[in-house]
């Protein structure tokens, strides 16, 4: 870690390992679970993992662009949650279930 700023208490690698672990947990949840809500939660987990990376590198490179970008990721996450939940509501109203593998009407 030759390039780490002397005043940075936590090595930047640690952020990357944490972020990778959280991202993989989210990806695994998305692939394994059938419940649409859990799939949306996994998506939020993955977005948070990306945010940790951005903040860690923002501190490491002493540059605020990374922190600014986290705000945009949060805005997109909010938009995605709103639209995703609206779709979930509409789907539940029509099909009375939230298990994603039952939504296969468009399969040819």
């Amino acid at each position: 870690m030759g390039g780490t700023p002397a005043d940075m208490a936590i090595p930047v690698d640690w952020y990357l390992y944490l972020s990778a672990a959280l991202f993989i947990v989210g990806a695994a949840g998305m692939l394994i679970r059938r419940n649409l809500f859990i799939v949306l939660f996994s998506l939020e987990l993955m977005l948070n993992a990306v945010n940790i990376n951005l903040v860690g590198f923002s501190r490491f490179h002493e540059n605020l662009a990374g922190q600014n970008f986290v705000l945009f990721v949060m805005a997109i996450a909010a938009a995605e949650a709103a639209v995703g939940l609206a779709i979930a509501t509409a789907l539940f109203r029509n099909r009375q279930t939230l298990m994603v593998d039952l939504f296969d009407r468009m399969k040819g």
Partner: protein, 195 residues
């Protein structure tokens, strides 16, 4: 040294909470564990001296987005799906193995990399001399990132309109929807009749 210990603690709690989120059967339990994960991530932002983002993380994520989820879960009057199978039967083990494989790849790649700081100049001393993290953050946001900021507001507007249109109940005359009992799996024939 204290920061390193705190980082390890919060990181371990965050990952444990993440695993808890994707293994809970009850959706509300999973949601509460997810809020716990977000609080831990906010603590890690605090440790990184991104104070404004830590507060935004708590307010927007743990506050607003999760409350939105809670509202929808309550509004939908979900029967518990706990009796149903929670995982995809065909792909769960493949997915788990692939996830562990990708994690191993990440670790192997990261172990072989040394990063060099770009020294952008915004050290904690510079930031506190310039009036604090939030002021510097706002300066950077409204000068360098003004256009993306405005685009983000348009995206939020589009999402709001889209959500309203998607949820708006259309007037259907005499359409009856079948209700499945908890634990009963809708048969393909029943789903076909529904149209």
């Amino acid at each position: 040294m204290t920061e390193k210990i705190l980082f390890i603690v919060f990181a371990a709690l965050a990952v444990a909470g993440g695993i808890g989120t994707i293994t809970r059967k009850n959706v509300v339990h999973a949601l509460l564990v997810l809020v716990f994960v977000f609080l831990n991530v906010a603590a890690i932002f605090f440790l990184t001296q991104a104070y404004f983002l830590a507060v935004v993380q708590i307010l927007v994520y743990a506050g607003a987005i999760m409350v939105l989820f809670v509202f929808v879960i309550m509004l939908l009057n979900l029967r518990t799906f706990e009796q149903e199978e929670q995982t995809h039967r065909r792909q769960r083990w493949i997915a788990l193995a692939l996830s562990i494989l990708v994690l191993a790849e990440f670790v192997i790649v990261l172990a072989g990399i040394t990063f060099t700081s770009a020294r952008g100049g915004f050290t904690p001393e510079v930031i506190s001399a310039a009036g604090g993290g939030t002021k510097v953050f706002g300066d950077a946001l409204f000068n360098n990132m003004l256009l993306p900021f405005e685009v983000a507001s348009v995206v939020l507007l589009v999402a709001m309109v889209g959500a309203i249109i998607l949820v708006k109940r259309e007037k259907t005359a005499g359409a009856t929807t079948r209700v499945w009992e908890p634990g009963e799996r809708p048969t393909p024939e029943a789903l076909e009749e529904e149209v």
